[in-house]
Symmetry: C2
Subunit: 182 residues, 2 copies
DNA sequence: GCAAAAGTGTTCTGGCTACACCCATGG
DNA sequence: CCATGGGTGTAGCCAGAACACTTTTGC
């Protein structure tokens, strides 16, 4: 999955595993894991033919020119793929709330407004830029980077640049979350 | 896993899956799932011999006379089993905080004190009976049942009986948790 | 100057914790 | 009557939400 242009997009690749092949190897054969900032195993299901299907959640940064068939996550997906995508999306939503998982969706450097769009796309509900900044800064998930992004033609104050403090999954607040607005 | 006599105990059974056999069938062959109030898939790993091992978290109620080799969860476990048990324990701890998962550990009817012992064993830190009751009642996870448990020889006020409102996993509060004491 | 975008200060709320206090029973 | 265990009342804390206000830019 990735958050691109304010939408959450997904790409589904089948992971076929050969006998005597590790899961990691099978995954690496199915997708180019260099494009993924975070990979996480989801669920293993038995198929009718006796083989096993293991689903993964892979997250790509918005600025990563990842190859693949990226499509917006909406109701146009086939039912079986939707089940996997829905599970992945639920997991993503939950972990965005209490971990630093945003690092896997946001580009290296970003403004709070850009980060907000990523969170809105992934969470599916509105998020205040003001509070998003305060929550993530307080938790130590994001830190100020040098420099500013100059405003566009329509003006406005230059936006400070931030970066995630870590590029590995960390639980930043086990007991809190980004609540949806009332 | 189960919480028994104030301790968290675990039993590890290998799940060997035959070709053309579903995962559920393989699990049912390895353990008697009738004794488990809740089953949840954890992780699938590839073994060196090319087979797959899928770990499950199964929870048994304290009053269930489950067969099996129940041992306290401590440092006496072999390293490889400990990794699975630790993952299961972490998952259990997390879900106890924001779901009604306690239904799978507590007996049908229980007093708040008994429920407290279950939570203390599973969470690994002290929990106040007062606040445990209020949190779970407010969330609607537990409800008053008829009757009281008479006090023992040492006296004391009779304890009100409670039961869990549901015996299926439900997210009772996505945005809160039982915090450990300071 | 004015609109637009970014950032800050401040208040409010709600869930949870902490702790003092009250209740009911056995001996 | 008193120790013991159970239950309630209440105050305080704190992360987060809400919102008014200030800052900095383009035109």
């Amino acid at each position: 999955m990735r958050a691109c242009d304010g939408r959450l997009e997904a790409s589904v690749e089948g992971v076929e595993r050969l006998r005597d092949e590790s899961l990691d190897a099978a995954l690496a054969r199915a997708v180019d894991v260099r494009f993924l900032a975070h990979v996480e195993q989801l669920e293993t299901r038995a198929r009718h033919d006796g083989t096993l299907a293991t689903a993964y959640l892979g997250l790509a940064r918005a600025d990563m020119p990842a190859a693949g068939d990226w499509r917006p996550v909406d109701s146009s997906w086939p039912a079986d793929e939707r089940a996997f995508v829905a599970a992945a999306q639920a997991r993503l939503r939950a972990k965005l709330s209490y971990t630093n998982l945003g690092f896997a969706l946001a580009p290296e450097l970003f403004t709070i407004s850009e980060l907000r769009e990523v969170y809105v796309a992934a969470l599916g509900y509105d998020v205040s830029a003001t509070n998003l900044q305060r929550v993530l800064v307080r938790r130590g998930a994001i830190v100020r980077a040098d420099g500013f992004r100059p405003p566009g033609r329509t003006g406005g104050r230059p936006a400070a640049l931030f970066r995630f403090a870590s590029d590995r999954l960390e639980v930043t607040d086990e007991f809190a979350a980004l609540r949806p607005p009332r």
